[in-house]
């Protein structure tokens, strides 16, 4: 245990004494200090929502809210940078299945949150951002640290509010909380002018409640379900495509039952990783740009694609013209606007993923006759194996590092990542079996997501769950300051840097599409991350050779606190399979020559 950890309570002990949210809330009702002003109303609204952790950075305009947190049981984690606070809150929400809370002051505090809010918005992650704002009478005067935060965040939130009065501020925060997690989740933001936070009020906010008219759909139209059911029954090559929405809807078990009961092979999207065990025979892992060859063959040849909680993103579909070109599409989604947005849905089923899957099962009289198709899928698994060979004298293969961690950890271990090649290797070579164990930046593709999300995930994870962050050298350097938080809070997380001293994914594309002109993708020099980790107060290792991998992995996992292993991998390693942008999924390349 590092020295810095001694001044902090033992993380394990702390979480075992935590009360379930309901009990905590009722106790708050009995013992909590009364609401006296806008700030105490804001904190009470969070407590009413069962909030136990919040991530943020102090600053002038948000000071009254922080002062109110002094008297609250909510544990606040001071992050090094507001972007880190937003990513930590986002990841906390993903793992805990409740909105993560991020706090920041006005102006730069709020704008630093923006990347994290946009990330949560793209991945439909529930998050509530609370931002300080200059006093109401100074708004619009270009005051110190003033930014039009509701204006800036309008396109990247489900909704945002400019708090107008202390009397209503608590219920506004409650609404923001409820809206963030309802239906298709997403980030919300409440901008809190300092005078409103200071303003006296004794209005106790109620339980978080949805704004009128925001109730999400639950069951799908029965006629659509019946039509979809008969199409699935008649299908010869049915395929279930499970997206991140299945996890958000807590419909993983239902989706697994659906696939098994009807004998339908499964592919997932990248955010859908964990919806279905990847070691199961029916599972073909994830499809898309760097998905498995067999998943991309299946999605190309299916005659009935059942998409659940997926938005048919371009990284999944490849070229629209050749996406599942023979398939009748059944699309189950809670957001009507996702239906036929990118891919036309022949059978739209708008509702909750689990509910609609149950409706479908209810409506089906027989299983599709898909025995040959299942065999075909197995054949593709054999034809396009995710295999690599290693040469012990050559530089480290990143895939080997990922597999070494996977083998050394339990199935419930949470994996977070930055964005780039390392993210693809982690998602390809880690065998995921459980939902909420893959935490990554999918839609926005935010380099630097890995470390702060590991911190957020650590606070939400069970005590017996490990947290491993795969990062690239470039990604790690973008938010490395958050290591100070991990050390201060003595968080048991392990960062595996797959270091090739490149912006590797860019370098790979330059080799394939820009004649190898490595413009601004070669770092040429990187700090020694093991020593940097030690300087922060974490434990650090540097690994160059295969025979050091197992021992360093074991030591890092055993170390009770933050640790960093700087793996110097083969700088020429590339990510395959790869579907070039806009190309047919079925024409995935297995090497650069095939691009």
């Amino acid at each position: 245990m590092s020295e810095t950890a001694k001044s902090h309570p033992d993380a394990d002990e702390e979480s075992t004494t935590e009360k379930p949210p309901a009990e905590a809330a009722s106790e708050a009702d009995d013992n909590a200090t009364p609401v006296t002003d806008g700030s105490t109303a804001i904190v009470r609204a969070l407590e009413n929502g069962g909030v136990e952790h919040a991530f943020g950075v102090q600053g002038g305009a948000i000071m009254p809210v922080y002062d109110a947190l002094w008297d609250s049981d909510i544990e606040h984690i001071t992050m090094a940078h507001e972007q880190g606070a937003a990513h930590a809150a986002d990841a906390y929400g993903v793992v805990a299945n409740e909105p993560g809370i991020a706090l920041a002051t006005s102006g730069p505090g709020a704008t630093n949150l923006v990347t994290g809010i946009a990330d949560a918005n793209m991945d439909s992650d529930a998050m509530v951002a609370l931002t300080g704002q200059v006093p109401s009478d100074m708004v619009g005067s270009d005051a110190f640290q003033e930014t039009d935060t509701t204006g800036v965040t309008m396109p990247i939130t489900k909704h945002n509010w400019f708090a107008a009065s202390a009397d209503s501020i608590g219920d506004t925060v409650g609404e923001a909380f409820a809206l963030a997690e309802s239906g298709r989740p997403g980030p919300t933001l409440v901008d809190l002018p300092k005078d409103v936070s200071f303003e006296e009020t004794d209005v106790e906010p109620g339980e978080p409640a949805l704004p009128a008219g925001s109730e999400p759909p639950t069951t799908a139209d029965q006629e659509s379900v019946a039509a979809a059911a008969s199409t699935i029954e008649r299908a010869e090559k049915p395929l279930l495509l499970l997206g991140g929405g299945v996890i958000k809807a807590e419909a993983t078990d239902t989706a697994r039952e659906f696939a098994r009961e009807h004998g339908i092979p499964v592919v997932t999207t990248m955010p859908g990783i964990g919806t279905y065990p990847e070691d199961d025979e029916l599972c073909l892992s994830w499809a898309g740009m760097h998905g498995t060859g067999y998943a991309n063959m299946a999605i190309t040849h299916t005659d009935c694609l059942i998409g659940v909680g997926t938005r048919f993103d371009d990284r999944l579909t490849g070229g629209i013209d050749t996406f599942a070109p023979e398939a009748e599409v059944v699309h189950i989604d809670i957001d009507p606007a996702e239906i036929s947005k990118n891919i036309h849905a022949d059978y739209p089923c708008i509702g909750d993923a689990g509910t609609v899957l149950d409706q479908l099962t209810e409506a089906m009289d027989r299983e599709p006759d898909a025995r040959e198709w299942r065999e075909q899928c197995q054949t593709w698994k054999d034809e396009y194996p995710m295999d690599y060979s290693i040469d012990k004298d050559a530089p480290l293969r990143p895939e080997f590092v990922v597999e070494a961690f996977d083998e050394a950890t339990d199935d419930n271990t949470i994996v977070t990542s930055g964005v780039g090649q390392h993210q693809m290797w982690a998602s390809q070579y880690w065998e995921f079996t459980e939902p909420r164990t893959w935490v990554s930046s999918h839609g926005l593709g935010t380099m630097g997501y890995g470390l702060p999300s590991a911190i957020g995930a650590r606070f939400a994870a069970d005590d017996d769950q490990g947290v491993v962050c795969f990062d690239g050298d470039g990604s790690f350097l973008m938010t490395i300051q958050e290591l100070s938080v991990a050390v201060r809070e003595n968080l048991d997380i392990t960062v595996a840097v797959l270091n090739n001293e490149y912006v590797g994914m860019v370098r790979q594309w330059q080799d394939a599409f820009f004649e190898g002109r490595h413009m601004a993708s070669e770092y040429n020099w990187m700090p020694e991350f093991d020593k940097l980790a030690e300087a922060f107060g974490a434990k650090g290792w540097r690994v160059n050779d295969y025979d050091e991998v197992a021992d360093s992995v074991e030591a890092a996992l055993e170390y009770d606190g933050p640790s960093v292993i700087d793996f110097h991998i083969d700088p020429d390693a590339n990510v395959y399979p790869m579907v070039a942008s806009g190309a047919p999924n079925g024409k995935f390349a297995l090497s650069e020559e095939q691009l």
Binding site: H159, V190, G213, F323, Y384, Q594
Partner: protein, 234 residues
């Protein structure tokens, strides 16, 4: 260069079977032999919204960031206090119009969205300033198109016209001979014909309560709206 094998095993792309089917740019399966992209259509969309600060920015921002082609947008109050009606003319292929309506309905202050199909009652108001050299002939044209003269000075005459798009365009053609100096147009606004509500579930003030507006008219976006009875569709 390392000794590592780069790439994976398996049949190369050209050796793999690939289905013949195709989708168009809207993701709709098509006959590859008679490939056709959908035509752009003009749709009139009416949205009932909470009249709160920023609602216009939310709608305008949505159309801008999703690249929906919008020809005009009008806003004004309805019979229900605290509600407003937005009337938009959108030019998109059919899936784009559908998508615009659905994205609009997702905005929190949007209560309900309807498309005015068939023959809605629609009209536009135009203010027109023309050269005043020949007031008698200007007056004759104004009478012909049921316009109103709002201001007549020694140099300019300002006229108000109302009507449907074609009527307005015909009138403008007639005024061109005098020399049009300035034009201000509201853009068309519309209601559904007969007893059909313009947006689904819409009710007059006597039967509806404004959504999201406090009794004291404070206009706080996050105000208490729990007792709202208005039927909503978003």
């Amino acid at each position: 260069m390392s000794e590592n094998q780069q790439g994976l095993q398996g049949p190369p792309p050209e050796e793999r079977p690939h289905p013949d089917g195709r989708r168009n740019s809207q993701g709709i399966r098509i006959d590859p032999e008679v490939e056709a992209e959908p035509d752009t259509q003009t749709a009139m969309i009416s949205a009932l919204v909470e009249h709160e600060p920023g609602v216009l920015a939310r709608v305008a921002g949505l159309f801008s960031r999703r690249q929906f082609n919008i020809e005009s947008l009008t806003v004004g109050p309805t019979t229900v206090e605290g509600n407003a009606r937005l009337t938009l003319i959108v030019e998109e292929p059919e899936p784009g119009i559908d998508q615009a309506k659905k994205q609009l309905a997702k905005l929190k202050p949007v209560i309900s969205v309807g498309e005015l199909e068939g023959r809605p009652v629609r009209s536009e108001l135009v203010l027109l300033k023309v050269n005043g050299d020949d007031p008698d002939r200007v007056q004759a044209v104004t009478e012909m198109y049921d316009g109103t003269t709002l201001d007549a000075g020694p140099e300019t005459i300002t006229v108000q016209l109302t009507g449907e798009y074609n009527e307005i365009e015909d009138a403008l053609d007639a005024y061109r001979q005098f020399g049009i100096i300035e034009i201000a147009r509201t853009g068309p606004t519309a209601l559904a014909r007969g007893s059909t509500p313009t947006t689904p579930g819409e009710k007059p003030a006597a039967e509806a309560t404004a959504v999201g507006v406090e009794a004291d008219g404070g206009g706080d976006a996050g105000g208490d709206s729990a007792e709202s009875q208005a039927e909503t569709t978003n």
